[in-house]
């Protein structure tokens, strides 16, 4: 094939899924000349799986992306069909926002946002080769265009050697009828990247009018919707309703009878699937004693009758799918529009990455999203943002940045990936963070907006607004700590009704808020001086007062972790020469090359004793 030099740019992003979008936008917004390549321009920001964004722990990621200046939260707010704050009443650490999204509108919004972005070109092209040169990288498209880039972000999602499985049928392909990128992997292997196969899957889309909703449990959105973005002023409204149904013995029977026809159990799929998002056949085999499994029926958009069956992904043959879906209550006559399928793809072992998401041994090459072994739109977008910022920084010759585990779920996600690695597609979970009560979704701005401002993704205007709100919050907390509620018939009636002790003398409002039975809203009628604050701010204030003792305790742990994280380790620390380190620790440390003691502590196979040896070694070296 004859090639031609197309352009010389700062940053090339391969892929325009959720990771690629954030990477390209962040890079361009930081002033780097950026080109984002996609195999099909009509599928920018596609949601090939759930038509939803957020959920437990994932909602935290979206808030954090927004706090850093990313796009996902705003796009979600602009295209929300229904929104719910999950786990209300279960403690502030687990509150999480989840929204149903119009997937075609979301895609159009993202495409248009990228098109309008200065310094950014979205280009339909398949990259077939990536080569390292003296000044960076050369990317070749399937039509022979050669782009020279200082840095590159790999955000290939499930496209890299993508292979679709439906029962006994399988073929090369990307999600939703796109074609796969079949040749790029060779270049990556040549660059020394450790590639492997992962697998994921999606349920069928079915026709709305073939569902009998009368039999089904309804799930409505929240009365008062809280937006994802700290910048969204008018919250979106709920326009749709979701429904719940359950599998039964008949479903189980169909699946067990046809298990041998699943490529997963027949051994045709070699890739490892996500543990926390299993296919229905997986669930039925692994949780054999469970009588039924829940499913959610979710609309895919305003202008479509396609409905998504959340929790029902499968790689069984099409006719088996029809059979088992029709065993489910409400779906007796269901018509499939697109069948469920599994997809297998190439990705990197993330241990090969630094916390900056740069590939070890390939300066200027970054990975993000499913390519790094994660699963989920939100996980992808979070990494895309970090990779995009660093790709731009690299192109400009600036120092790369990374987020800490004690400061964000994004930092935790990336630290888990690059330090512990992952045996199956990594999904963000609340339990992955040791600092849950501090890493709340309602304070993502306080944790990350100053960092976003420093990076250059948060405008002066937004930053000032953020600081003003912060001041208002602190002033109000101080006021509540110093203002007394006096006993009255009304307040005591309310207190008795809530099941808590009535007042005999004056008591600080803050102390009343600390009672588990009371909320800040219960007290507003008795607090004549209270300023008029937004519900979000009140929620923040209530959490901080109610849990102040616990937050303080966790802050002490965070500080300790910060100390460990600020004890830097050289990338070329000679671990093999440090005696006292056990053999396994030497090997792991040499491979992972942690940037600091905090990261080293998270490596499995590195014991506290090894950490002591390292600390002592550093001290001696310092002396």
């Amino acid at each position: 094939m004859q090639t031609y030099i197309a352009d010389s740019i700062d940053v090339a992003v391969i892929g325009a899924g959720h990771a690629g979008i954030e990477a390209a936008l962040a890079s361009a917004r930081l002033g780097a000349k950026t080109v984002c390549f996609t195999i099909n321009l009509d599928w920018v920001g596609n949601m090939p799986c759930n038509p939803s964004i957020g959920g437990t722990a994932k909602g935290h990621l979206v808030r954090e992306i927004d706090a850093l200046g990313g796009e996902m939260g705003k796009a979600a707010d602009a295209n929300t069909l229904q929104s719910r704050m999950l786990n209300r009443g279960k403690g502030p650490a687990v509150h999480s926002l989840r929204a149903q999204i119009d997937r075609r509108d979301y895609s159009a919004y993202m495409k248009h946002t990228m098109e309008k972005q200065k310094n950014l070109l979205v280009r339909q092209a398949e990259i077939i080769a990536l080569e390292k040169t003296e000044n960076g990288y050369e990317l070749t498209t399937s039509l022979g265009a050669v782009f020279k880039a200082k840095s590159v972000v790999l955000a290939t999602g499930t496209f890299l050697k993508g292979k679709i499985f439906v029962g006994e049928v399988n073929y090369d392909g990307g999600p939703d009828g796109t074609f796969a990128a079949t040749t790029l992997s060779e270049s990556l292997l040549k660059l020394g990247l450790p590639l492997r196969r992962f697998k994921t899957g999606t349920p069928a889309r079915v026709l709305r009018s073939s569902i009998n909703f009368e039999k089904l449990e309804k799930q409505e959105g929240d009365e008062k919707v809280i937006p994802f973005s700290f910048e969204t002023e008018t919250p979106p409204e709920n326009t749709v309703c979701c429904h719940i149904s359950y599998t039964n013995d008949a479903t189980k029977e169909v699946i067990l009878k046809n298990l041998h026809r699943s490529p997963l159990y027949g051994g045709v799929i070699e890739g490892v699937g996500p543990r926390y998002c299993p296919s229905l056949e997986d669930k039925i085999v692994r949780f054999a004693d469970k009588k039924r499994h829940q499913l959610f029926i979710e609309p895919c958009g305003k202008n479509t009758e396609e409905m998504y069956l959340q929790g029902m992904s499968s790689s069984l043959p099409e006719e088996v799918q029809i059979q088992f879906y029709r065993t489910i209550e409400g779906l007796e006559n269901v018509e499939i529009m697109r069948p469920a399928y599994a997809i297998e793809y190439d990705c990197i072992d993330p241990i090969a990455l630094f916390p900056t998401l740069e590939v070890k041994g390939n300066a200027g090459l970054f990975g993000a999203g499913q390519f790094n072994g994660s699963s989920g739109y939100e996980e992808a977008a979070a990494q895309g943002l970090v990779a995009g910022v660093n790709a731009a920084k690299f192109a400009k010759g600036e120092q790369l940045f990374h987020l800490t585990r004690s400061g964000s779920y994004i930092g935790t996600l990336i630290d888990d990936l690059v330090t512990k690695g992952c045996a199956d597609p990594y999904r963000m979970m609340t339990s992955r963070s040791e600092y849950r009560l501090i890493l709340r979704q309602n304070n993502a701005d306080e944790r990350l907006t100053p960092i976003g401002y420093e990076i250059g993704l948060i405008s002066e205007e937004r930053y000032n607004k953020f600081k003003t709100t912060l001041e208002i919050k602190e002033k109000e907390i101080e006021r509540l700590e110093n203002t007394f509620a006096s006993p009255s018939k009304e307040i005591n009636e309310m207190l008795k009704e809530k099941g808590t002790v009535p007042l005999s003398t004056g008591i600080r409002f803050a102390d009343l808020i600390r009672r588990p039975q009371l909320s800040i809203a219960d007290l507003l009628p008795f607090d004549s001086e209270h300023p008029d604050l937004s519900e979000e701010l009140l929620d923040k204030i209530e959490t901080e007062i109610k849990y102040s003792g616990y937050i303080k305790r966790q802050m002490a742990t965070v500080k300790e972790m910060h100390r460990m994280e600020s004890t830097k380790l050289d990338v070329d620390t000679p671990y093999n020469e440090i005696s006292g380190l056990r053999l396994e620790a030497r090997e792991k440390l040499s491979k992972i090359k942690p940037l600091n003691i905090g990261q080293a502590m998270g490596i499995s196979g590195v014991s506290p004793a090894d950490i002591s040896v390292l600390i002592i070694w550093l001290q001696r070296k310092g002396n």
Partner: protein, 454 residues
């Protein structure tokens, strides 16, 4: 960078059959080869672990002695490093010469406890095991030795691990709650949570109360002997310590300042303080002595109050009883050899007492029994695992505080995500206790007092 190679004499100094210098570190073999020449053509560096060579030790060209060199290979040695032990004939001077030869050959003198510190750092033993090595070496009596040995074998580690595991289970339940908060069937119930926490608290509290008793056994019982002048305090002291350090005369007020003595009484170590007889006096010197005696009374673990039963109780005696009746006191009714009657007043006081003759020693065994009962040392299971130092004690106290708070938070209706923080804190304390979670401060603190050579 390599760890330097350390050396020290690892047998007691003095005349003995054999004395040993231990060399440990990356260069142990090279250094040993410079001072030890095997009789056969064996090369120390090529010898297998756990094998020995016979030969001669030199300091430069000067022959010091015949010797046996024992080779240990990393990681199968006490420290986990390459180690050579050179044994020569016993004798303080000789072994010091050998050590000097070894240090001239490139080894550094080991700091106190450094071998054990390395053993811990190399993962050869847990922190509590390492700490018990120190206690083992300095054990003053059989009971203390017993406790140290048990801990060295990991009994305390096992007990801590059992509690750590229980807390870890609760932490895992909180993880389940955090990940799937809407599915209440996945996590154990709050009642089960509370039950578990309460069980853990009981275990921790047992460790705390045993510690106070164990401390008396390991470190000795701070004992003050009080009584009226010439009641026989010094005679008792001399009887218990089997010396004649306190001057005994029939002149009351002979002991004017505090005389101290360590005595092994039965299984226990008594850190005895003989004091001036407490009574009304105008003698200025004696008065100072009496004040000292009263001060001692406040800080003592045990008060032995000696009374002369051959004479009726005086006003001074009665005043003293008032002073001591609320302290851990044992009335020692003395001079039973002279007259067996006269003790009735004391026996009726509802304070534990024992009748002895300090002069003849009659009743001493009974005294030991009564001390044991009074301090509840008899309730201590001699085979139980035990905390052995203040660091361990403070750490368990922290765990107790966290678990106690977690229980009251849960009972008060606080959500599991917040309660989890308290449980995390308790878990962190227990992990720190056994060195599973380490800070440099802890390591330095623990190893500062270790003796050289172990």
């Amino acid at each position: 960078m390599q760890t330097d190679t350390i050396a020290a004499i690892s047998t007691p100094l003095g005349e003995g059959g054999v004395s040993t210098v231990r060399i440990s570190g990356d260069n142990a073999f090279q250094i040993a080869k410079k001072v030890f020449k095997p009789q056969s053509n064996k090369d120390l560096e090529k010898m297998k672990g756990y094998t020995a060579a016979f030969g001669k030790v030199y300091d430069g060209d000067e022959l010091l002695d015949d010797a046996v060199a024992l080779v240990f290979r990393n990681p199968k040695s006490y420290t986990g490093e390459d180690t050579v032990e050179i044994s020569v004939h016993g004798g303080t001077h000789l072994i010091r010469r050998v050590l000097r030869a070894v240090t001239s050959a490139g080894a550094r003198l080991a700091e106190g406890g450094e071998f054990t510190k390395r053993a811990f750092l190399n993962g050869k033993m847990s922190l509590t095991e390492a700490e018990s090595v120190m206690n083992l070496i300095s054990a003053k009596n059989d009971r203390a030795l017993n406790i140290a040995t048990k801990n060295k074998e990991g009994a305390l580690s096992k007990k801590i691990k059992a509690m750590t595991d229980k807390l870890l289970f609760l932490v895992s339940q909180i993880s389940v709650f955090s990940d799937f908060p809407e599915d209440e069937t996945l996590c154990i119930s709050e009642d089960d949570f509370l039950t578990s926490l309460k069980e853990i608290l009981i275990g921790l509290n047992t460790l705390i109360s045993d510690y106070d008793k164990g401390k008396l056994i390991i470190e000795g019982i701070n004992t003050v002997i009080v009584g009226s002048p010439n009641a026989g305090k010094s005679t008792l002291m001399n009887l218990l310590s089997k010396t004649k350090r306190s001057i005994v005369t029939s002149i009351a007020g002979t002991t004017r300042d505090v005389v101290e003595q360590t005595a092994k009484v039965g299984d226990y170590i008594l850190l005895l303080a003989d004091t001036a007889g407490i009574h009304q006096t105008d003698d200025e010197v004696e008065q100072i002595g009496i004040e000292q005696a009263l001060n001692r009374l406040d800080t003592a673990d045990l008060c032995l109050a000696v009374f002369d039963t051959s004479v009726p109780p005086t006003e001074d005696d009665k005043a003293l009883i008032n002073r001591i009746k609320n302290k851990p006191t044992l009335l020692v009714l003395n001079k039973n050899d002279l007259l067996s009657s006269g003790g009735e007043y004391y026996e009726a006081l509802d304070i534990p007492f024992v009748k002895i003759s300090a002069l003849t020693g009659e009743g001493e065994e009974k005294l030991v029994d009564e001390i044991s009962k009074l301090l509840k040392l008899n309730e201590l299971d001699p085979n139980a695992e035990m905390l052995i130092n203040e660091r361990q004690y403070q750490t368990v106290q922290r765990a107790v505080a966290s678990v106690t708070e977690a229980i009251s938070a849960l009972e008060g209706g606080i959500t599991l995500d917040a309660v989890g923080i308290l449980i995390d804190d308790g878990l962190a304390a227990l992990l720190e206790l056994d060195g599973k979670r380490i800070t440099t401060e802890v390591a330095d603190e623990v190893f500062r007092n270790f003796c050289v050579g172990k």
